[in-house]
Symmetry: C2
Subunit: 212 residues, 2 copies
């Protein structure tokens, strides 16, 4: 059994939203079908990041979806997040597993089979793989469908596909073996984040059902 529901994983970006608008958009997206939320704040200082994490964590607990913090272990611990997600340039998974409480989930970005296997070996609970499609959120080398299938064959932990995913293409990574899709702009920049999440979730659920 999965320790969290990876089907529709929202990675936040503040864009120009006020704090209230931001929280309202995430809440609408959760009610639409988002199953996990990761707070990613590349610009904010620690205190501001922490305050936002406390607010978003409270919302996620209330809505019963898992809450993840990108990169900052201190913020994750202070906000009692369910998980921490790190990239290959952040602290190595082995070091994180030693300092994190046992119950804290650990996600690791992996771009190759070797990175995904190393992450699983080090105790990661999921890997984020991508980008399958080009994206403006984060410039990154594209991962082919075959590479994603190879990662699927190589690890047992859940795989989140990330990068340029929207309702039109979300079925592709699921068909290739991903357990869920992670999105940023497809929800955060949607005119109606509730409707966008609902549509995405429907696509993912249908693709998962077709695969089984």
């Amino acid at each position: 059994m999965l320790r969290f529901d990876p089907r529709l994983y929202l990675v936040t970006q503040r864009y120009n939203y006020s704090r209230e608008e931001f929280l309202e958009r995430v809440d609408a997206a959760i009610r639409g079908g988002v199953s996990a939320v990761q707070l990613r704040e590349k610009q904010a200082e620690g205190r501001e990041f922490c305050e936002l994490a406390l607010a978003l964590g409270a919302l996620c607990r209330q809505r019963r979806v898992s809450f993840w913090v990108n990169d900052r272990v201190d913020v994750a611990l202070a906000a009692q997040a369910d998980g921490v997600h790190v990239g290959q340039a952040d602290l190595p998974a082995e070091a994180l597993r030693r300092i994190l409480p046992r119950q804290t989930l650990l996600g690791v970005s992996a771009y190759t089979v070797a990175e995904a296997q190393a992450a699983e070996q080090a105790g990661a609970d999921c890997v984020g793989c991508g980008a399958l499609f080009s994206t403006e959120t984060k410039p990154i080398k594209l991962l082919s469908r075959e590479e994603l299938q190879a990662i699927r064959a190589a690890v047992r932990i859940p795989i989140l596909a990330i990068g340029g995913i929207n309702a039109d293409n979300a079925a592709v990574p699921i068909a290739a073996g991903a357990d869920g899709v992670a999105v940023v702009s497809a929800i955060m920049l949607a005119a109606d984040p509730h409707a966008a999440a609902k549509k995405l979730r429907q696509v993912v659920d249908e693709a998962l059902a077709t695969r089984q």
Copy 2:
């Protein structure tokens, strides 16, 4: 009794030194009289920061001086640092005290009596106060000698004076009640870091002796 020796506290900055030059300079400075070292890396990504912290922490343990990490609790924990130092924009001291192991020292930058008292109240083991003198390392409002004396009168924890301190002026904050001086460029940019540290330590020790 103080839980660490605050007399000459080196805050590192990489400048353009290679990793080897950097570690050699810090080592020379410790042999010259530095009593505590704080790794401050504002640019490095987590993994690089962590690797440097492991190397510098090992050096400090070998030389028996306390080792502090600026801001990043995860790096401090991974490197088993003696302390973490945070600014007013980082996570609040209360939150850090909750997530840090009991034995980990906590330093907090404080620019006013109120901030210093709040830090002590929240469980800080020392405060860094400044800048007393203008500095190019970090642009900051100057603290007067009277303000430093007022902070001294208001808290019991050690006070580190920081900002623009060198051998010519290091006696001033000590006379005003600081327990030590924190320096960056006076050692890191010195032609001879060993000699610079030795001279600074001598000035601090004499000023402390005069005060008592």
